[in-house]
Symmetry: C2
Subunit: 411 residues, 2 copies
């Protein structure tokens, strides 16, 4: 008998038919003798509907209210799943963030989980019931409702699994697992059977939408095995686990394409100490994540500064940057949304030379110009013109032989 946390995403609970399907999965795990805790997202489309309402009410809705508004999506799906399970004879009860006490900081709309109390969950499990927890949300020290940002239900799932020391956190989604790249772009893409937390974190941060990155951080920190799988079939999906010796270190595990990128360039920035801090502090204070930063050296006391941010934050960022540019007497600010970021990820890179040059060569062969580059121990990212995004992805997928060979790294 195991303790399993099952997290179901929005497409898995899109309507009552799918909720019934989820209920049957939960029931199956129970019949097999397991303790089950369920974490649910909002019904697909519901969160977007609520966000539209907020934006119609105000261009910049107050984030405390925004969180209280959009958290209702999971409250609805959790109650519907509980009702469905009960109608099938399974004792289930839904719980909200404040009821379990999923404590977060007060960074509304991008809150971080600080603690998941387990007393109530354990009491429910002990009583033989199936607790259904609303994903994506928590409560701060003041009792305000907070939300965890897009994909936050993954993090709720893993955090609940970590707190309960569950045997596994199953993340149910509408795909069979994590792929070497997006199968819609590259039909040769293959499902990865086993991947390390570090690689998965890079994949998630670089555009693979299958898991929220923070959920993987959590899983790594508390060593929670994640099993990403489809709610529509019984195939084994992708296990995200601690790197171990059994795991063959392939050179490159996956290729990601992120279209959610925008580039901001500030030209003729007076090149003196503290200027970078002046530019980036307000952006960071606004919770906008800056990805790559390039600063050109220049001889005449001026420099150009270029950086990338998520596309959705461009408007807010430009407002801040233009204000700073005036203050520091930079010449001008330009924005470019017509870019994408293509990346290769692999734990094997650390010990292999020549990966970067192979990547650049493959892109050059197709005349794809690289606009920006950033690297870490286990990934290399290139910003290219948006129109080359899909081509670059396919080229790299092939260059590193991801379409062939056994990617079942646990083999």
């Amino acid at each position: 008998m195991a303790l399993i946390v099952q997290k179901y995403g929005g497409t898995s609970v899109r309507d009552l038919a799918r909720i019934r399907n989820v209920a049957q999965r939960v029931a199956k795990a129970r019949r097999e003798g397991n303790d089950v805790v369920v974490v649910v997202s909002a019904m697909a489309g519901e969160t977007d509907r609520l966000i539209r309402l907020a934006q119609q009410a105000s261009e910049v809705p107050d984030l405390r209210e925004y969180d209280s508004l959009i958290s209702t999506g999971e409250q609805v799906s959790a109650a519907l799943l509980a009702i469905t399970l009960q109608s099938m004879g399974f004792p289930a009860r839904s719980f909200l963030g404040p009821q379990i006490r999923i404590l977060t900081d007060s960074a509304f709309s991008v809150a971080r989980i600080q603690k998941v109390e387990t007393a109530r969950l354990r009491r429910e499990l002990k009583a033989g019931r199936i607790p259904i927890v609303t994903g994506f949300q928590g409560v701060d020290a003041e009792g305000n409702i907070t939300t965890l940002g897009r994909g936050g239900s993954d993090t709720t799932g893993v955090a609940v699994a970590a707190a309960l020391k569950a045997d596994v956190c199953e993340i149910y989604t509408d795909v069979d697992g994590v792929y070497t790249t997006d199968p819609n772009i590259c039909p040769d893409a293959r499902k990865i059977s086993r991947i390390s937390y570090d690689e998965m974190m890079e994949m998630a941060s670089l555009g693979a939408k299958v898991l929220q990155i923070r959920s993987v951080e959590f899983a790594k920190k508390y060593n929670v095995p994640i099993h990403v799988r489809s709610s529509f079939n019984d195939k084994s999906g992708t296990w995200v686990v601690k790197e171990d010796e059994k795991m063959e270190k392939v050179l490159v595990s996956g290729v990601t394409l992120s279209k959610n990128e925008a580039r901001v360039t500030i030209s003729r920035v007076p090149d003196r100490p503290g200027v970078a801090s002046k530019i980036f502090t307000p952006i960071s204070d606004a919770h906008i994540v800056v990805d790559m930063i390039i600063q050109n050296t220049s001889s005449d006391g001026y420099t150009d500064m270029t950086f990338t941010i998520p596309k959705g934050d461009l408007k807010r960022a430009l407002k801040l940057v233009k204000k700073t540019a005036e203050e520091i007497k930079a010449q001008s600010v330009m924005a470019d949304e017509n870019i994408v970021k293509v990346s290769i990820i692999g734990a094997g890179m650390v010990s292999h030379a020549g990966v970067a040059s192979k990547m650049f060569g493959a892109l050059a062969k197709e005349n794809i110009n690289i606009m920006m580059i950033s690297t870490s121990e286990i990934k290399i990212s290139c910003v290219v013109e948006a129109k080359y995004g899909e081509l670059a992805t396919r080229v790299l997928h092939q260059a590193f032989g991801l379409e062939k060979g056994d990617l079942q790294k646990d083999g």
Copy 2:
């Protein structure tokens, strides 16, 4: 400067345009120097949508989950109103039942408010903010979300006003106030300027949908003046207040028609002590409100028992009654949904004879057969065939001269 509680119903917050209209009303009251606490219902149609979802998930949804589900409606409208007020420059914050601590019993879906804590509300008011409270819901001692039944937001409004000792509870709705009868049935119906708590309670319990009866009970108990008015114009509406000498005692204040009635007859019930208790205890335990009860005397040791209940509870009630009928060896159980209840209400009835006979006479003149009668100090109700409902209402409205004369009882 006064402390005003404003409660807005579902049609007043139906969409964002109407929510903006509400925000402007709230803003006006604030600009006039008042402290304002707002209580909101769900956007019109939203609660029904959520109830349909629950019923699709299960024919008899678990009521704890049902409450958690449908309480999201007010959470959405409260947040949207707060966002709108903030965008207009007014500091507003939404609060849920558990955040204010609106404590109720645990009778899910028909919970009763036990206490409204005021510390948080007072803190918000002191800080110059406008608290927006979700109507219709509270939290029980276990931290479960509860709802107060249809129209429960009225009760929230009055309970909050009572707890804060507010100067008035304004109930905003889509009609101009309380009418002598339903203007859709009787075009001669006239708005009542001032009515006593007792009369209003009878009106509410007998079919006038403008106020939830429990809200009037609360108002009477804590002596909270209620002002029922339209959110679409600035006309004064109907004041519901303590009966006083200034109030001229008209014979009959209003006529109500309730179509939400069903009749159950148990025939040939063995006529022995304890039989009524056997029949009605399970019904009461199921929170079904029995209205009129008639027991025919009979000479052969058997009696017929007839009673009325809300139409929506008929299915549940029949199940219980059939079980009891078998146990007590009654002959049969019949149900009739084809009935309505027409009532006249007036504080003046107490001291005037002949009101009942005038009522029965007026109905008889139109050949309307009276099936059941019940009376109290200030009302007389008759059950008649459904097809006569509207006619009976008009006949009685005219018989008691409600279409003419000055009904401004504070005149």
